[in-house]
Amino acid sequence: MDANEISLDVEYEKRDENGKLEYEGISFVKDEFPVFLKQTISPIYKDEEYNVQMKEVAIDMTGFDSVNLQAVFDTMPKVSNFRIGELVAEKIVESRYNAKFTYNSDRDLKNPNSNNTGADLVGFIEMEDGAVNFLFGEVKTSEEQAAPPGVMYGATGMIDQLVELGTSPDKLKSLVKWIFIKCTVDKDLLVQKYIKEAMQHYVKDRSNVQLIGVLVRDTNPDEKDLKNRYNDLRKKIDGQHNVQLLAVYSNYKMKNGAWEKLI
């Protein structure tokens, strides 16, 4: 199932005085989410062979010991809800907002324990006026009942991370360079066109960067998930970039490993 073929219901949305989308909540039509996981997300997982790659980057020849690291690879579950959430977010953003992710985006770009954190979503977006900008985003997945859920708060929460993305020049610069390098190897002409255009906009004005936060939920749609959080975000970003939030309601519970089983 291609993401374009999914039927999604808009549960709520908020636009500014110019009609520009600020946030929206959408939900899968009942029973479509499992099909989507099976047909669209699962094949991506099949490509991910962590262990094989681990062997490729074998560290034995560095003089360091590889036992502990190998153990991580051996014991890591292959599938996790947060990872599924990220892939879902990516596919939906791509189809719904004319976004494009250039690389084989099967990896998280973020490592909270390192000092070098990146972003969950790195790509391009075609704006409503047709202009192409860089798109960077954060994804959170939650089965918590509270609205908004805890993943929206705190230093590792969505809003703070988006704010950091938008206000730390180093981070944005690194991401732009990174995507620029990635695009070098991408022969897709559309990508080449996008990078050129996005770069032009970025260089001329840093605010020409789209930031997006995606919340993936298995609860009932509730505008409270995003409303105040959006206001908080907007205040902190203070017009430096375009920001927008999206909540995706799966309409399919994740408890007892229900999502993972479908992969």
Partner: protein, 1047 residues
């Protein structure tokens, strides 16, 4: 700027934004230099830096990467990055510094990055709270810093040590760290560690390679690890680590290219030994700077196909090392024939410096280096050096004048070994007014006489270097210039002038645009808004302006102030001493102060100046004291050094600031542009002040004058250096007039023509008869650099004049031969021989040291010398001083000098009691007597002594008499000590001691003598120092070590 300025990313923002950013950086540099604060909006610099980084990435994407473009953009990024404030967070700091290093390497300016590292004393603190991954990153960063810094091999060992420590610590900390990470992020954390471990291994490999150069596949090895590290960083999504790794890979690949070990892969075992030696010495060299790498590895300096190579590169680009590699290659190429190398340096001081450096670095690998005095005569020790078949030197360091004498004396035959290579340092001196012809003729002579000789000419930039290479080797000439704009340091150049009226004036500094490596930025800044010295504006001459601005800038330790004349130097230094409250508590300064007090007297002004770390450097000081002052300045021990423009020729050390009260040579016109830049190039050094500052005082007693002088100076500093023009060409064009008789015999009184006449004479002597000479005349003339550029009609006139001169030579064959061996023209010799006869000077007078007793005929000899055209000017200048010395007095001065009378006594006896007396005394002795009287005496000896009537021992003694004048001592053993840089005041005592230890003092090599001096006990040194007020034995030993360039 080349094609990259057309890059699409670069063109996305307007030019003004770039200009603004660089202006801000420059402005900041200048404010820093002037100790002024300036608020800067760093985000504008960062923005431009970001765009340039993206531009660079785009350039690197190309399939056909232009390295020059990569380097140019990187240099710009480096400039911007290094102007940014240091981040506070330690990880950010590490990344920032690594980035700076990366761009310094890619920009072919690694030494600037290294300097940044050292100046900022970068070391990333590892804290207890740091997680394992942070700890690993920090330690690797520190190891990388050591890898760049590598002052000696210990730094490299330390870098490896840090990596080993990490391997140990892994056992303790890794598991705990991994367990602390949430399951969602575990995998990513693991990738991060994998990536870092590979980087650690890379640093380990690099440090090992830089230490011993043994890994031939180092590129592949680090390439493999980088591949893994980058892959893991990507898997872990660690964007900034990923980017850093990509750039570090480029940086370390450059480091491999720069490595001195790369040279060993191309040539021979001598080079390998040499590299092993320079990488293991205390101040080690592991990497070549860009100009060196470019010349040696990219431009084929060591390709034996090129017989003549001209390397034209800016000051401080490390030309000596370039020469060293070429020397090794030449020695190797000619090892079967026992070939030797001559290194020709322009001044006595430089001969000493170069010889010491070469000795230090070549002797450990079994290459023997010797130097000869600047005297134009060959003493017995030097003669032994040439003829001793047991103990042969490989490299000889001499002045051009001495080498010319050796060549004319048929040195190759004498030694029975071919000259393999002639290295000519500061070869642009060919255009120098008085000595240029000598150098040009020397090269023509070598070309003619030494059929196997190769040439290496080292010069600052000259436009027509191709032409010069072609002159020396028509078949395969090679001239090497920099392909990149390479700046050894940042400099600003500006004018200093006052504005205001009466006693109410302010001092301004206005930067000027130049064609050279200076910061290109126009800005007028206030240097001081208070009146720094109590003088009215209309009385502010350049000298006073220099004083005022030096007072203002006195915080910048290591200021060089240039005065016009010796007197100005004293006055400036005196004024600064009075005005400034400087402190100087330093053992080295104290040592020099003691030495000066002993030699010149306690009351000598320099002694007082040194208490505040102020010194002077000019012709009014002895050679020794000048060396000591240079040594102090070089080591950053002096606050201020005041010198005359002549320092431009010999200065070999960097200074923080140059304040110029004059850009004219004494008694002549404006400084040649090339000399000016040579001097200015010394501003800027590793120290607290990154930016070298040059301030030129302009006459500005009123606003109109200021404007005029400012316009003049602006024009002067924009002048580009012109083509190198032969002095012979100039001389011929100026002297020969159409329609007028031109005869060479009437030119002998002119010292410049005299040198040309000698060339002709030398060529004549090599022909079997006049017929051959006439046949070859045209060829002989074409061997000079200048002849072919002379206007054709004048060429013809010169040609026929030379032929006519050949006939004269043919009639006086005996004198022609003698002319060759003395360096005086045939005419001079004829006249001198007549004089000797007329005055009844007998052989006995000329052969014993009784010549230097009070009632000897030395006065007659001095009288003769005063009429020898080649040296008469110098001899008469001695006479012209304050006291109007007669020939008789000069003879007595010479006698006293040889017999060891101290300078203080000589000055008061012959020149008066004031400060100027000492100046005149030193100028007379070191500037004139030691060269001219030595040369004159040895020639008179040749005319007045029948060599075959003397025993070998007698001949030896005879040939050392002139050297006694040269060194100012009265025994052969003392000469030997002086040749090895022993101070004159203890040379005699030491010589006596030496003679006790060795029967035949004439057979010792300089290495053995040095060993002997090194081995002297402190008791012995104390004995030498007895009765030398103030100086102890160990003080003398310390001074000797400095003079011998061993510190």
């Amino acid at each position: 700027m080349s094609n990259w300025s057309e890059n699409w990313i670069y063109k996305l923002i307007p030019q003004e934004e770039y200009k603004l950013a660089f202006d801000m950086v420059n402005s900041k540099s200048i404010s820093c230099a002037l100790n002024q604060n300036e608020e800067i909006d760093y985000s504008r610099i960062e923005h431009v830096q970001d765009i340039l980084e993206l531009t660079l990435m785009d350039i690197l994407k190309s399939e056909d990467i232009k390295e020059k473009e990569v380097a140019e953009v990187s240099q710009k990024i480096y400039l911007l990055l290094s102007a940014l404030p240091m981040p506070l967070d330690s990880i950010d700091k590490a990344k920032h510094v690594l980035n700076i290093l990366v761009y310094s390497y890619i920009g072919e300016q690694w030494e600037s990055g290294r300097r940044y590292l050292i100046e900022n004393d970068i070391n990333i603190l590892i804290e207890e709270k740091d997680d394992w991954n942070i700890c690993v990153f920090k330690k690797i960063s520190n190891a990388l810093f050591l890898l760049v810094k590598k002052e000696n091999w210990q730094d490299l060992t330390m870098a490896c040590q840090l990596i080993s420590e990490l391997r140990e610590e892994q056992k303790q900390f890794e598991l705990e760290y991994i367990n602390s990470i949430t399951p969602n992020n575990k995998m990513l954390a693991t990738y991060e560690l994998i990536s870092l471990y590979h980087l650690a291994k890379i640093v380990d490999l690099m440090a090992t390679f830089m230490t011993n150069g043994e890994m031939v596949d180092i590129r592949e090895q680090i390439g493999m690890h980088f591949g893994k590290a980058i892959e893991a960083a990507e898997e872990g999504g660690i964007v900034s680590l990923n980017l850093l790794l990509i750039m570090l890979q480029r940086m370390l690949q450059k480091m491999i290219s720069n490595s001195v070990w790369m040279v060993t892969q191309r040539v021979n075992s001598r080079v390998t030994k040499f590299v092993r030696n320079i990488t293991s010495q205390e101040k080690a060299i592991f990497e070549l700077m860009y100009p060196q790498k470019h010349a040696i590895l990219e431009e084929g300096l060591l390709d034996p196909a090129h017989k003549a190579v001209v390397v034209n590169m800016p000051t401080s680009s490390g030309k000596t090392l370039i020469a060293q590699f070429r020397i090794l290659q030449a020695l190797n190429q000619f090892s079967e024939d026992n070939g030797w190398v001559v290194y020709i340096a322009p001044t006595r001081a430089l001969v000493n410096q170069v010889a010491s450096k070469l000795k230090k670095e070549f002797e450990p690998i079994g290459i023997k280096v010797e130097k000869m005095s600047g005297a134009i005569e060959i003493d017995s020790f030097e003669n032994n050096m040439l003829t001793d078949s047991k103990d042969r030197f490989d490299v000889l360091v001499v002045t051009p004048e001495k080498m010319n004498l050796l060549i004319r004396d048929d040195i190759e035959t004498k030694m029975g070994r071919p000259l393999a290579l002639a290295v000519v340092d500061e070869a642009h001196n060919i255009e120098e007014e008085s000595r240029g012809i000598n150098l040009e003729i020397l090269l023509a002579n070598i070309k003619n006489d030494c059929s196997k000789a190769n040439f290496l000419l080292l010069t600052p930039f000259i436009k027509n270097s191709d032409e010069i290479a072609k002159w020396l080797d028509a078949d395969s000439p090679k001239s090497i210039s920099l392909a990149l704009d390479w700046k050894p340091n940042k400099r600003i150049l500006g004018a200093i002038y006052p504005e205001g009226s009466r006693r109410n004036w302010k001092l301004f500094y206005q930067t000027l645009l130049t064609n050279s490596a200076e910061i290109q930025f126009e800005k007028k800044m206030i240097l001081s808004d208070e009146t720094l010295i109590d003088v009215t504006r209309s009385n502010l001459n350049k000298m006073k302006l220099a004083i005022a601005s030096t007072i203002r800038l006195a915080d910048r330790k290591g200021i060089l102030v240039i005065g016009g004349h010796v007197k100005d130097c004293w006055n400036i230094a005196h004024a600064l001493y009075e005005k400034l409250d400087l402190e100087c508590n330093d053992d080295d300064v104290e040592l020099v102060k003691k030495y000066v007090a002993t030699e010149y007297g306690e009351e000598f002004e320099l002694v007082h100046l040194l208490t505040k770390g102020i010194a002077v450097h000019h012709s009014g000081l002895s050679d020794e004291v000048r060396v000591l002052i240079e040594w102090l300045m070089e080591r950053g021990k002096l606050n201020i050094l005041v010198a005359t423009t002549t320092i431009a020729q010999g200065i070999n050390f960097p200074v923080s600031t140059i304040i110029m009260a004059s850009i004219s040579y004494p008694y002549t016109s404006e400084m040649p542009v090339r000399d000016f830049w040579n001097l200015v190039g010394r501003a800027g050094r590793a120290g607290q002040n990154d930016v070298g500052m040059i301030g030129i005082a302009i006459g500005a007693s009123n606003d109109r004058q200021k404007q005029e002088e400012l316009t003049k100076l602006t024009r002067y500093v924009k002048k580009s250096t012109e083509e190198l023009v032969s002095q012979l060409q100039k001389l011929a064009e100026n002297t020969i007039e159409f329609g007028k008789q031109f005869s060479l015999t009437s030119q002998f009184y002119n010292p410049e023509w005299s040198q040309f006449l000698q060339y002709i004479t030398h060529m004549f002597n090599q022909c079997k008869d006049l017929g051959e000479f006439e046949e070859k005349t045209d060829l002989f003339l074409r061997r000079t650099f200048g002849y072919s550029n002379i206007e054709p009609r004048k060429q013809k006139i010169l040609l026929s004049a030379v032929k006519e001169y050949g006939e004269v030579l043919n009639r006086n064959k005996g004198l022609a031969k003698l002319s060759d061996s003395t360096g005086f023209s045939m005419e001079t010799l004829g006249r001198t021989a007549y004089k000797i006869k007329e005055l009844g000077i007998r052989q006995d007078t000329l052969k014993g040291s009784s010549l230097f007793s009070n009632d000897s005929q030395l006065k007659d000899l001095i009288g003769i010398m005063m009429n020898i055209p080649e040296i008469s000017k110098n001899m008469q200048d001695i006479a012209k001083g304050n006291r109007n010395l007669s020939g008789d007095m000069i003879a007595r001065l010479t006698t006293d000098w040889v017999n060891g009378t101290k300078l203080e006594a000589l000055a008061s006896r012959y020149f008066g009691d004031d400060r100027d007396a000492m100046t005149e005394c030193c100028q007379a002795i070191y500037g004139k007597l030691v060269n001219s009287a030595t040369w004159g005496l040895s020639t008179i000896q040749k005319l007045g002594i029948k060599e075959d009537s003397l025993s070998e021992e007698e001949l030896q003694k005879v040939s050392n008499l002139p050297a006694m004048i040269y060194y100012g001592v009265n025994s052969d053993e003392a000469i030997l000590m002086r040749m090895n840089n022993v101070p004159r005041s203890v040379a005699s005592e030491m010589g006596v001691e030496y003679k006790k230890d060795f029967d035949d003092i004439y057979k010792q090599s300089s290495y053995e003598i040095r060993q002997w001096i090194e081995g002297l006990t402190s008791d012995k040194w104390d004995a030498f120092a007895e009765n030398k007020r103030g100086m102890s034995g160990s003080d003398y030993k310390a001074i000797w070590k400095v003079l011998n360039n061993e510190t």
